[in-house]
Amino acid sequence: MNADIKTKEYTTVTEVAGPLMIVEGVEGVAYSEIVEIETPNGEHRRGQVLEVENDRAVVQVFEGTTDLNTKTTKTRFTGETAKIGVSVDMMGRIFDGTGKPIDGGPDIIPEMELDINGAPMNPSAREFPAEFIQTGISTIDGMNTLVRGQKLPIFSGSGLPHNDLAAQIARQAKVRAAEDTDFAVIFAAMGITHEEANFFMKDFERTGALERVTVFMNLADDPSIERILTPKMALTTAEYLAFEKDMHVLVILTDLTNYCEALREVSAARNEVPGRRGYPGYMYTDLSGIYERAGRIRGKEGSITQMPILVMPQDDITHPIPDLTGYITEGQIVLSRELYRKGIYPPVDVLPSLSRLMSGGIGNERTREDHSGVSDQLYSAYAEGRNLRDLVAVVGEEALTPRDQSFLKFADEFEKQFMTQAKDEDRTIEETLDLGWKLLSLLPKSELKRVKEEHIPKYLP
């Protein structure tokens, strides 16, 4: 390949619009390659080729297009797709959204250079995730069990304590067969506030986890287009740690809503045909490029567990962002404003919440033999109790049969005792299940159809 073509500088920017810039008269430009840009006042930025037609390239500029002009802006095409240099030394370090260190520490000496887009994991190479992670939170462990290699998002609303919950999970998560494998946490912030970021950083510091944490930080006042890179940087690092260094990696991505907004911004600037609510039609494919990078590989020790956080606009679960996410992820933890108003922490609304990988991760030898029965029974009893609340509002509690009254009582106690726990309360799975049985004892025995018959005398108090 002709080296001088690669390094040739162009000053032929013909158009700048929104996050995009068009360079003409270029030669040998590859789709998706990284572009280095020098602004008229000497600042360096990076961009990526979004489209190339003959000698015309459309470039998306990550750090924003402010100050660019069509006269003296210099562009250099690097001939490479976006890459990140990775090393185990990245643990304990803080990077910006494009992978540059911002903690004042030395540059990373990379062990490998990896393409941040990764490659799709071969389904026949995957290992099915089945290793129970105890988070210490009853509504998750008992009813929406998380397993290693799962992608389980938290669907929240503005003002709800999703950050507290995520931090508590990161703090308490452990695998019960306490074999001493390495773990790491990767925290990727996209467009969150300094305050929110500080909350996590302080929590990591306080618990001494900081040295196992790698942070990619794109804050609310950072360029929004940069956010498109951030999760990919984080997940490429996660893949390296998990599958090259055999670590169990928990990736916290927050907030995916901001990421999608950035996608929409680029799409709008390109005059693409919009899908629902102006989000691009390829958002599903794009999001799965992030979420599907969780998992396990047969024959490899490590794993990537993802916990993306997204704030649902107007608490609307049918909004395209939570909707498309829910179709890709293996379940969802939904926080409820109504429960939070009642003073319940964590306000996990179990009814719309789900863990798709639960059945493989629970039961004999993994958690306890009665787990799936207890979970099903708690679900249906709580759902019935909640339904009855509506009825009570109309006809009054006295009009209910004793059976129905017991379900009503159950639902109240379930919220008070099972759902509610302190921010540092770390329950074992046995404690969670026993608590479940204790609550089920409020119901007539003949109603316990979901649990195995032989478990009733064994566990029912």
């Binding site: 979004l50 037609e53 799709p120 071969n122 045909v273 009814l351």
Partner: protein, 585 residues
């Protein structure tokens, strides 16, 4: 003729090349120096627009595009069963051996193994007159599948020579046929373009149900062999489990499972589960009759558009051998979205919600490839392809274009309901919204295989469920006590239908599959509780006493009774109902 052009534009999965005059629509091409697989989707003068089935990052204008002279095709022959392919029929196990745990670009692998020798049994002799679809040999491919080696469609003539029983690869010539067009050599391997349906003689009316051991589907909303069904539902409503249950237990000979733009782990689960599970009919591992096509959501989007065609073509190939084939496509919405994405990159004028205007016709063409047919060939073989397509409507809103266009074609609609799923009522098929237009056509089959009153029992249960929803409205207003005694019995009966019949636990060893006879007897027993209960009311017994009879608990657990013990148990329960109600006098 091989044409060579040059790339002039790249935008995501769509590229434009010039110098392509002479190429055809839907011709397969090789793009760039890494020879990525693509397909021509638009021609204009010298330029061709191409959708590329692999990641296009790194391609440059000026790189070469080579035509291959043929459309995107699948390879058909021994070596398909039990495999997992990507959307353009590349075996993922082989790709893994070459590129490791992650799928690299430009991996060029044969769809089916060309080196492996198969034991071929000759079923024809020299001098036989044969035509397309006639079986000239057999290969026992897996324990469950005997592949019939057929004369390719369009070939007709006398056999000049045919090999004797022995070991052959799929590419070796096994017969020579003298046709009007000269002598044609026939191999076990056939190629067929994916976008073109394989020929058949005649389409027949489906009248045999596709039994899957799932009570809600089999009893209330049956799909016939050769029919098509749609499962729309929001996320978390159990589409995938429902699809997998069908793939596991449907009484088809061959299952083609297309994971279209879905989760990687789901395909892994199938790969893990199916070899362990046994076909309830034959005892063979389920994997032996299953073909998997996996284009997970993070695999290239253009291959997602192709994967359903790859799947249906494989299904038709087995149909032509005389088998009943069931194809599960999870999810057709992702396929439609892939069309939308490609259409958007082509800057086509969008139709509803950005989908291309040809969405409806593409969906219809796909579902029309289902059907019960008489196959081509001298001897009539009756066989079928059934399609069960999952639909993932955004926000669970069934008024969106993919769901609506699918419902216009499919005769069975299993409506998954998030509120049922929230209560852990699984399968969360809403019994009031769902429908099946095959109930009449499969009625005879059920009468023959269970009892003559199958239809009456089923319809009665449906009427009760309908009634329940009306009664529930009253209860919401005035409380349950206000209902007359007979309605109390109705409500108790429908609760049993819902909880003890409709709910089915896919993860329970026994309950995961329920035979037609057991289904019938379970429902019959619940209905008999209602009849006996109403009779008891007539004898002056109070409804609260009727509702409290202890046998109810056994009714609640009858679904967990093993098929072998069930006949005795169900008799006990039926007698128990009569006795315990009689004792109340």
């Amino acid at each position: 003729m091989i044409t060579e052009g040059n790339i002039i534009k790249i935008a995501g999965p769509v590229i434009v090349a010039d110098g392509m005059r002479g190429t055809q629509m839907y011709e397969m091409v090789r793009v760039g120096s890494s020879k990525l697989i693509g397909e021509i989707i638009e021609l204009e003068g010298d330029t061709a627009t191409i959708q590329v089935y692999e990641e296009t990052a790194g391609l440059k204008p000026g790189e070469k595009v080579e035509s291959t002279g043929g459309p995107l095709s699948v390879e058909l022959g021994p070596g398909i069963m039990g495999s997992i392919f990507d959307g353009i029929q590349r075996p993922l196990e082989v790709i893994k051996a070459i590129s490791g745990s992650f799928i690299e670009r430009g991996v060029n692998v044969p769809s089916i193994n060309k080196e492996k020798k198969w034991t071929f049994q000759t079923k024809a002799k020299v001098g036989d007159s044969v035509k397309g679809g006639d079986v000239i040999g057999e290969v026992q491919e897996t324990s469950a599948v005997l592949q019939k080696i057929m004369v390719p469609p369009k070939i007709e003539g006398k056999i000049l020579s045919i090999v004797s029983n022995g070991e052959y690869t799929v590419e070796e010539d096994i017969a020579e046929i003298e046709t009007n067009d000269g002598v044609k050599k026939v191999q076990m391997l056939q190629k067929w373009p994916v976008r073109k349906g394989r020929p058949y003689k005649e389409k027949l009316d489906p009248d045999v149900p596709l039994i899957s051991g799932q009570r809600t589907q089999d009893t209330f909303f049956p799909v016939a062999k050769g029919g098509s069904a749609a499962i729309p539902g929001p996320f978390g409503s159990g589409k995938t489990v429902t699809q997998q249950q069908l793939a596991k237990w449907a009484d088809a000979d061959i299952i083609v499972y297309v994971g279209c733009g879905e989760r990687g782990n789901e395909m892994t689960e199938v790969l893990l589960d199916f070899p362990e599970l046994e076909d309830p009919k034959t005892g063979n591992p389920l994997m032996d009759r299953t073909v998997l096509i996996a284009n997970t959501s993070n695999m290239p989007v253009a291959a997602r558009e192709a994967c359903v065609y790859t799947g249906i073509t494989i299904a038709e190939y087995f149909r032509d051998q005389g088998y009943d084939v069931a194809l599960m496509a999870d999810s057709t919405s992702r396929w439609a979205e892939a069309m939308r994405e490609i259409s958007g990159r082509l800057e086509e004028m969008p139709g509803e919600e950005g989908y291309p205007a040809y969405l409806a016709s593409r969906l219809a063409q796909f579902y029309e490839r289902a059907g019960r047919v008489t196959t081509i060939g001298s001897e009539d073989k009756f066989s079928s392809v059934s399609i069960v397509g999952a639909v993932s409507p955004p926000g669970g809103d069934l008024s969106e274009p993919v769901t609506q266009n699918t419902l216009r074609i499919c005769k069975v609609f299993w409506a998954l309901d998030a509120s049922l799923a929230d209560k852990r009522h699984f399968p969360s098929i809403n019994w009031l919204q769902s429908y099946s237009l095959y109930v009449d056509s499969v009625e005879n089959w059920w009468a023959e295989n269970t009892e003559n009153d199958w239809r009456a029992t089923r319809d009665e249960a449906m009427v009760l469920l309908q009634k329940e929803s009306e009664l529930q409205e009253i209860v919401q207003l005035v409380g349950p006590d206000a209902l007359p005694d007979s309605e109390q019995i109705t409500l108790e009966t429908t609760r049993m239908i819902r909880e003890d019949f409709l709910q089915q636990n896919a993860y329970d060893d026994v309950d995961t599959y329920c035979s037609p006879l057991k289904q019938y007897q379970m429902l019959k027993t619940i209905i008999s509780f209602q009849k006996e209960g109403v009779a008891a009311l007539g004898r002056g017994i109070e409804s609260k006493n009727i509702i409290a009879i202890p046998i109810k608990e056994e009714i609640g657990r009858m679904k967990y009774v093993h098929e072998n013990d069930f006949p005795t148990k169900i008799k006990e329960i039926q007698e128990g109902i009569v006795k315990q109600l009689g004792d109340l006098n």
